[in-house]
């Protein structure tokens, strides 16, 4: 056991505080090259990370940067700066702490590079940007420690891959660098340890006391949940009752649109005018900060929120977490529950509110999973090549590099340690020449090799453009929403461009809990007026729609298999009993398909339990195949557990449609031309630097100068289908929006065992599907037909004769 400097132990003693065992353990192992701490939210995790830094800096003999702290949120960096400032001031330590994010003024950023603080708090993107400067080695000289906060969140996205690549660069500049990861409870800590440590350094994992098990149950309501829908309006009186009985309640929703609607309806029912706020990622930053400040002051009794509150900032007095809608993912549920009651030894309290009858089953499955302590996680794939391409460009900005040296640096990072030299060279070639089968641009290559064999930017001015496009976060294109007033009213928030495009003046929608009326679009700002008298049209914000995890899907099927309804409320048990008597219940190792006529059309429901994205992809592939077979499909809708297809002709023999070879061929051939693939392509092409989101001229004129990624995709598909970007797109399609991996998992699970049940009418399990939002019309000739009808209508309205 090593001793802490007296100035620190005295500071603890003066406050009557004890050092937590995990803080002590972290301090004792401060010399380890890599350390991972798993601790619930709160619990002094941050201090555990910083204690060794404070000790090493306490006598003031370190010059320059000592510790780099990285968090996924800018707000968290600012929060930590304030939290560190207090003990440093109280102990009178000679330590300078500063943050550096996209919000930091340029003058301070410049000064930081010349005269860095002892502790710099930043984000993965800002760190990547720092490594792109020629003077990076000077700035990073002498750095001892890097602390990665909320590493579980970073490791789930490409931001984590980028961070690990940036650290591999830093480590080459400061070989003694020690890494510390701080993580919430996760399913596979060893995977995060492998991800964060320099390969092949060991990484010890420390666990803080997780505290007593959470008190989590389903909310009891007088009214049963409806068959379908996601609003959970039926539960509002019961939720308000809970808010009244607790100090502070967080009410989590899965999407921003749902949060807005729930908040709106909650206020209509809020007779005691309890102070309740709303917080989500589409709201204006000022508005969010106001809510956060009110929360910290203890002015609010409840906050309706989304994943924007999943991370970071300590909310103090929260004593209840309510999850509206099925949690979809047990790990995230557990992390959300952890936001209640940070007090030592008090159990976190949480309530689940299913939004519909099926979600009751999912909530029961989630409760079992939490009780069993099994978290879900998809195994992390290898480091993606689009992020590597960006990394190579960033390296070129910093100065000429040797390809072999960079390769050997890259494979020290966890996500890329299995990277082949061949793949690396393909990425380098893409960065240098575009990597096309048709060799072009020899004179205008982005990177050129000099006489000594080093790679460098052909035109050094390109560095500015590369730096402007650093990052892996894909913002959907959003437009600011502003009240129409005398010029420059406060922004209320943002909506997706696609949503704005559907608005006609006079339409109403919800934002920030108020109903507003769309007045018009002005210089890329949606102008609205306040309007309280109309029922709002729903805002379809991007807010990620998570797919139900593989584990939860399996647990639901297991409940069906055991036919043990004891944990289910009576209404749900009866519903399942009727399903069983008129048809069957879905099973894990068989595929249930029901066909029935409804509303004069043939309907077919496929219970794949593969998650929303995969079920949607399944719908796209199967309807295309049906079109080829002349079955005239008209549309489909997908949920996490099933796909419902309707059309003119019934399916007689479904088996050939679900053969894995057929599905795979569908992915390779026609799905390649589909919008989901194009969106996947756009994300990777932007990260890899093929498409520039920001250009100097665009910043000046405010106009986008980018190329239509759809046209680039179509061109590559036609002329260069094996191009690196197309390979990356196909790879990405295994997960995410397309999620083909889960279709393959389903095909393997059912292994050709298909039960096709033909019925005279819709079944209890399928009925809610008829009410689902998000119906997808089948394209093909459909769009042309729609256009023809609309053109005729418009011309007739305009009094123009349409007969040719």
């Amino acid at each position: 056991m090593r001793d802490l400097p007296p100035v620190i132990t005295n500071w603890f003693a003066e406050r009557g505080w004890d050092i937590h065992p995990h803080q002590r353990a972290m301090y004792d192992r401060a010399d380890a090259p890599a350390l991972l701490l798993i601790a619930p939210t709160g619990g002094g995790k941050t201090l555990a990370g910083f204690l060794p830094t404070l000790a090493e800096l306490h006598n003031g003999d370190h010059d320059g940067l000592h510790t780099l702290y990285i968090s996924p949120l800018k707000a968290l960096a600012a929060d930590i700066r304030r939290n560190l400032a207090q003990p440093i001031a109280e102990m009178a330590l000679p330590i300078r702490v500063e943050d550096r994010t996209g919000d930091t003024p340029a003058s301070r950023k410049k000064r930081q590079r010349a005269d860095p603080p002892h502790i710099l708090l930043t984000t993965p993107e800002s760190l990547a940007l720092l490594t792109s400067y020629e003077d990076a080695p000077r700035m990073f000289a002498g750095v001892q420690r890097v602390i990665i906060d909320e590493i579980h969140a970073l490791s789930e996205s490409k931001r984590g891959d980028q961070l690990m690549l940036a650290l591999s660069r830093m480590q080459a500049m400061c070989p003694g660098l020690r890494r510390v990861g701080l993580s919430a409870t996760v399913d596979d800590p060893a995977a995060i340890a492998r991800f964060m440590a320099r390969h092949p350094d060991p990484c010890e994992i420390l666990h803080a006391d997780p505290g007593p098990p959470a008190d989590i149950r389903m909310l009891q309501t007088d009214a049963p949940p409806p068959w379908a829908g996601a609003g959970a309006n039926y539960a509002i009186p019961a939720v308000l009752d809970q808010v009244r009985r607790h100090r502070t309640t967080l009410i989590f929703h899965n999407t921003r649109a749902q949060a807005e609607i729930f908040f709106h309806n909650m206020w209509l029912a809020n007779e005691d005018t309890l102070p309740i706020g709303i917080h989500h990622g589409s709201l204006d930053r000022d508005q969010r900060q106001n809510v956060e400040a009110a929360m910290v002051r203890g002015d609010l009794r409840a906050i309706v929120c989304t994943g924007s509150l999943d991370l970071g900032i300590d909310w103090g007095d929260v004593d209840l977490v309510i999850q509206i809608g099925a949690p979809k993912n047990v790990k995230r549920l557990v992390q959300r529950i952890g936001r209640a009651n940070h007090r030592y030894n008090a159990p976190s309290k949480a309530l689940l509110v299913p939004a519909n009858r099926f979600e009751v089953v999912e909530c029961v499955a989630a409760l079992e999973a939490v009780r069993d302590g099994t978290l879900d996680g998809e195994p992390r794939g290898d480091g993606p090549l689009d992020v590597l391409c960006q990394h190579i460009l960033i390296a070129a900005c910093a100065g000429p590099f040797d390809a072999s040296a960079l390769y050997h640096e890259v494979i020290t990072s966890g996500p890329y340690h299995g990277l082949s030299r061949e793949d690396f060279d393909a990425c380098l070639d893409f960065c240098a020449t575009g990597g096309y089968a048709l060799r072009a641009y020899d004179r205008w290559q982005r990177l050129k090799q000099d006489a000594a064999g080093l790679w460098a930017l052909r035109d050094p001015r390109a560095a500015q453009r590369i730096r402007m496009n650093i990052g892996t976060i894909q913002d959907t294109d959003t437009l600011k929403v502003r009240l129409r007033r005398q010029r420059g009213g406060k922004p209320l928030g943002e909506v997706e461009e696609a949503f704005a495009a559907t608005l006609t003046p006079g339409d109403t929608f919800l934002i920030g809990g108020q109903i507003v009326r769309y007045e018009g679009l002005r210089e890329l700002v949606v102008e609205v007026t306040r309007r309280a008298d109309k029922k709002p049209k729903i805002a379809t914000f991007a807010g990620t729609k998570f797919a139900t995890s593989t584990q939860l899907s399996a647990r639901i099927l297991e409940i069906f298999r055991t036919r043990d309804w004891s944990a289910l409320p009576r209404h749900t048990a009866e519903w399942l009993d009727i399903q069983r008597s008129v048809s069957r219940l879905p099973e894990a190792d068989r595929l249930l398909i029901e066909s029935y006529p409804h509303d004069g059309q043939a309907h077919t429901c496929i219970y794949g339990f593969a998650g929303r994205n995969a079920q949607q992809t399944l719908g796209l592939i199967v309807t295309k195949r049906m079109e080829e077979l002349g079955l005239n499909p008209l549309g489909f809708v997908a949920t996490d557990y099933a796909t419902l297809i309707w059309g003119l002709d019934p399916i007689d023999d479904p088996a050939p449609l679900f053969d894995v070879q057929t599905l795979r061929r569908g992915l390779d051939t026609w799905l390649a031309g589909n919008a989901v693939m194009k969106r996947t392509f756009r994300a990777s092409a932007t990260i890899a630097g093929l498409i520039e989101r920001n250009t100097p001229s665009a910043r000046k004129s405010g106009r986008q100068a980018t190329f239509s990624s759809d046209i680039l995709y179509d061109t590559l598909l036609k002329y260069d289908p094996d191009h690196l970007m197309m390979q990356i797109t196909r790879q990405e399609a295994r997960r995410g929006l397309v999620d083909f991996g889960r279709i393959e998992e389903m095909a393997a699970r059912i292994d050709g065992r298909i039960d096709h049940v033909r019925l005279p009418r819709v079944t209890p399990l399928a009925a809610p599907m008829l009410l689902e939002m998000g119906r997808v019309p089948v394209r093909g000739s459909a769009e042309e037909r729609l256009l023809a009808q609309e053109a005729e209508r418009l011309l007739t309205t305009a009094g123009i004769d349409v007969t040719p």
Binding site: A440, R458, P505, G689, L690, F707, I711, L795
Partner: protein, 223 residues
Amino acid sequence: MNKISFTLAGSRLDALGSGALWWGDQGILCVSDLHLGKSERVARRSGQALPPYDTRDTLNRLAADIARTQARTVICLGDSFDDLDAARSLPEDERLWIIRLQAGRRWVWIEGNHDPGPIKMGGTHLAELPQAPLIFRHIAAPGASGEVSGHYHPKASLRIRGRQITRPAFLFDTDRVILPAYGTYTGGLRSTAHELSHLMRPEARAILTGPTPHMVPMPRARQ
């Protein structure tokens, strides 16, 4: 053929789904804003290496339209090359391809703002071409009549059942027709833009290009 016919200054013209204009009586095929060599120019100016297949794709489509119409004259309405350097550095096989397309027919290059000077390419180079009763030029001149022009890359959007469909579009009224851009990597200007609303008469119509062209009243900004 996949087309919509309309009349300008007494001449019957066909708007093809590909974005080309066909004047059958004269055997004239007119295309605008090919922007050949665009990806080369982008690479030269910014280092961004777009897929270098745009020229090939544009010529493929043009060759198909020529074969289909058996055009005796081809008029390229300006901005045929993304800039003069792009015209000069066109790869040899693409140059030869253009020469093959030119064989046996009259070929007119109208100057555009991107390619204002002479280019070393067979065919006639003109600032504008009067071909009574029509006149072909790159940028529409206010007050003109019987005018065929390009330059603006017009596109039109329709909102149908909550879905927005946007296509490059012809705009025409009794005085003029403005062609959509024909080049593969060309973006577009919405018909609702101020310049276009100003230029076109209130009763103007738009013809959306695509597998089947569709005619609608020209969409304008609502006020």
